[in-house]
């Protein structure tokens, strides 16, 4: 259906999910297992986008990626912490040089052992520009990336100099700058290991992946296949999967999954917020609502003189009634933003957002004292039904509370970003930002740092940048979280962006299934599902 046509930034296309509210519905955490194989396999809906290329360098962090691959570390949905998975330890003295030791006994689905080389191969493959892999940019943390990816001219290296295999179970990694958050980053499937065969010919394994995750595919699938069966990997070294088999039902467009769920064709599906109300009112099946580790925010084009004054930005930000938008417009399916990320992300609950309050009178006074507003105001977003709905409501509120003639317009997503990058837009814009890894630092860095990947406001504040760098170089994770939160507050006080809400999605599942959890950045945790 058309609403998903306009793709969101990537992590959103995947309907990314960190289960902030991460519920374990039923507490029977045991492996009450159903061994009778003649029972119909549990059908889990997924999107075609998640199934195009499963090579870690191309992976998108979907729940299927996590079912097939297990990286060095793993995010715990219930606590919000990062734990070791394949790694036995990840240690550093200076946050630049790291020693990674692997746990013994991990094997790939084909029986070959998971070694230090398996990780080095994967990272080198992704870092090589000749492969033009999507996750090439993530390898930037490793020393030697610049030699492989020079700004101009030919590469002067073929492998990352910062990744060194010491022995089968030990890696020595050198980073380009101190980064206390490395364990968080390594939990991404982009950093999963690959077999020797995959390294030699990645295209061959794109849709017949040999991973090290809790599930395996016995045969590959064709592009466009409608069903793919996953079988439990019995030699998995982590927590064994709850079900013997899972049938993935691949949707081109996730919007019809709810209808299919109702008609009994699907057992577990991630549904969009629009369908949540219907799902809650409907008796068939059960619903788990999850808050996405993402933020919908309003950004200001700081290159436009009209928004140069922080008071003007603050006035606009505080004239928005976030609670009304979430409660009325979104029918409660979302969370009014009080910071940069849902609280479950590390450090997120320590962020205070001065512009996230609703104070219409104060906003009007503030705008008045800043010189008032002249002329129309055009808000922008890309074509997406929720974005359009929310932005229209914001426009209405600005008109009502500030007396500004506010309207909205939409454009194709590519054009919106192109215009912003070229500084050709002249109105505040409503955008989505998903956390690249479960840490408030990720959002703060992406949205407000001078070099941030999603810094569309062209905001640049040395004080903020410095504070944020300090967080990365912090002595421990706790301190890193606190410093990142402090930095975020510095940025938010300048109001280059103002957070609006954290979007929600829902997992519906048929009765008889338990332990339905959200996976990091990718829908339901497939391995956790149990019958019972």
């Amino acid at each position: 259906m058309p609403r998903s046509l306009a793709s969101r930034p990537r992590s959103a296309v995947l309907i990314a999910t960190v289960a902030a509210t991460a519920l374990t519905l039923s507490s029977c955490g045991g492996s009450a297992e159903d061994s009778s194989s003649d029972i119909e396999p549990v059908v889990v809906a997924t999107t075609e986008g998640a199934m195009t290329d499963m090579t870690p360098g191309m992976s998108q962090g979907s729940n299927v990626d996590y079912a097939l691959f297990t990286p060095l570390t793993k995010y715990d949905a219930s606590s919000g912490d990062v734990e070791n998975a394949v790694a036995e330890s990840i240690e550093s003295e200076d946050q630049v040089h790291w020693t990674i030791t692997l746990e013994e006994g991990w094997t790939f689905h084909d029986g070959s052992p998971v070694t230090a080389q398996s990780f080095a191969d994967s990272w080198n493959l992704a870092a090589d520009p000749a492969n033009a892999m999507d996750n090439n940019g993530q390898m930037v943390i490793f020393e030697g990336y610049d030699e492989l990816n020079p700004v101009e001219g030919e590469p002067t290296a073929t492998e990352l100099s910062g990744v060194e295999v010491v022995d089968d179970l030990t890696l020595e990694v050198t980073l380009t700058e101190p980064n206390q958050l490395l364990p968080y980053r390594l939990s991404s499937t982009a950093f999963s290991p690959i077999t020797e065969e995959t390294a030699a010919d990645p295209a061959e394994f794109a849709r017949a992946p040999i991973g090290n995750g809790p599930f395996m595919v016995e045969e590959g699938w064709e592009l466009g296949a409608q069903d793919v069966t996953l079988t439990r990997f019995e030699d998995y070294s982590g927590d064994a999967a709850g079900l013997e088999q899972i049938q993935l039902r691949i949707y081109q467009d996730p919007s019809s999954t709810y209808t299919d769920f109702q008609s009994g064709q699907v057992d577990v599906a991630l549904i969009e917020a629009n369908d949540l109300t219907a799902a809650e009112e409907n008796s068939s099946g059960e619903v788990v609502e999850v808050t996405l580790p993402a933020l919908i925010y309003l950004g200001f084009p700081t290159w436009d003189d009209r928004f140069a004054d922080v008071d003007v930005r603050t006035a606009i930000a505080t004239a928005i009634d976030r609670d009304a938008i979430v409660d009325q417009l979104l029918e409660g399916h979302g969370t009014a933003a009080t910071g940069l990320s849902p609280d479950v992300l590390a450090g997120a609950d320590q962020v205070d957002c001065p512009t996230c309050v609703y104070d219409p009178e104060g906003a009007a006074d503030l705008l008045e004292s800043a010189g008032g507003w002249d002329g129309p105001l055009e808000l922008q977003t890309y074509a997406d039904p929720v974005n359009e709905m929310v932005l229209q409501a914001i426009a209405n509120q600005l008109s009502d509370n500030l007396g500004i003639d506010a309207t909205m317009s939409t454009a194709p997503i590519g054009q919106v970003y192109d215009n912003l990058r070229a500084e050709e837009s002249d109105g505040p814009f409503l955008l989505y930002s998903g956390a690249a890894y479960p840490h408030v630092y990720a959002q703060a860095n992406a949205l407000m740092a001078t070099t941030g990947g999603l810094n569309m406001t062209k905001f640049s504040d040395p004080a903020f940048d410095e504070a944020l760098s300090g967080a990365k170089a912090a002595a421990d994770l706790e301190q890193a979280a606190q410093q990142a939160a402090d930095a975020a507050e510095i940025g938010l006080a300048e109001a280059p962006i103002t957070p609006i809400f954290y979007p929600s999605a829902g997992i519906v599942h048929s009765e008889g299934l338990t332990n339905i959890q959200a996976e990091l950045l990718g829908g339901v945790n497939i391995a956790a599902i149990e019958r019972g």
């Binding site: 629009n274 074509a383 039904p385 008109s399 054009q415």
Partner: protein
């Protein structure tokens, strides 16, 4: 002519929606309160409220304007192109006909919807005029084809020949004899096209490439209604009802024109 009444009424609403919107009290489509979001109909608000908490009746009435404007604009555009190209092709034949017929084939060969998506995405600008222009761009071949066929028949009639015989210029023959006599089937198609084009606009908007807020049109309303129509059916029904009635009025009107122009009404529209 009785069938003209609904069309006339719709035109009046399109030109001056204000009084009609205000019949039940709240006539301003932009007075919105999120507290009323998706609220059901209640006294003073016969159609209830839309997602933004605006009065749906006022919105639907105001939506008549852009929907009907687009319908008429596109039909006029297509009609003019059809008359000009169809007549020229039929009158001059040879390379003019070849050119017109080939371009016609090219556009017809294009799956129109896909073409419109590509072009509208490319333009980026989406207002009543660009949407109309795109609908015209992909809508002209059908009517042009009919006009060409109809004009071909007229050009072959003796009176066109007779006019040339007493020295009338090509321009005069086309304008005074060919066009008036060939236009009937195209006019009928045109009256039907108004309705079709209104639906087409709503389809484009549904695809997210038609009009967009803050424009008020039935397509925009239907588009925003599809999100939650299962819980709030009135969101979908109100604009759909108006759309259907409008299209129907124009269809009935076209049918009446057809009967009038073709008393035997045995001749096919095409």
């Amino acid at each position: 002519m009785l069938p003209a009444l609904p069309v006339a009424l719709i035109l009046v609403v399109a030109i001056a929606p204000g009084p009609f919107a205000g019949i039940f009290g709240n006539g301003d489509p932009r007075v919105c309160d999120l507290a009323n979001s998706r609220a059901d109909p209640r006294p003073g608000h016969p159609f209830g409220f839309d997602v933004q908490g605006c009065d749906l009746w006022a919105n639907v009435v105001w939506g008549t304007r852009s929907s009907v404007l687009i319908g008429i604009l596109v039909t006029l555009g297509v009609l003019i192109i059809a008359i000009v190209l169809g007549t020229l092709a039929a009158y001059f034949r040879r390379w003019v006909d070849m050119l017109v017929s080939r371009s016609l084939d090219i556009v017809l060969g294009f799956p129109a919807l896909v073409g419109m998506v590509v072009v509208l995405t490319t333009i980026g600008q989406r207002n009543a005029f660009t949407v109309s222009a795109v609908l015209i761009l992909f809508g002209w071949p059908g009517m042009t084809r009919v006009m060409r066929g109809s004009a071909l028949a007229v050009v072959d009639r003796d009176y066109a020949d007779a006019a040339r015989g007493y020295g009338a210029s090509s321009w005069r023959v086309m304008w005074r004899h060919v066009v008036p006599n060939a236009i009937a089937p195209v006019l009928v198609l045109a009256s039907l096209a108004v309705g079709t084009m209104i639906t087409a606009e709503s389809a484009l908007t549904f695809l997210g490439i038609g009009l967009q807020q803050p424009a008020i049109s039935w397509g925009v309303q239907l588009n925003s209604a599809q999100a939650g129509f299962r819980q709030h059916l009135h969101l979908l029904l109100a604009p759909a009802l108006f759309l259907s009635v409008t299209v129907l009025s124009f269809v009935v009107f076209g049918e009446a024109i057809r009967r009038r122009l073709d008393p035997s009404h045995q001749r096919s529209v095409r």
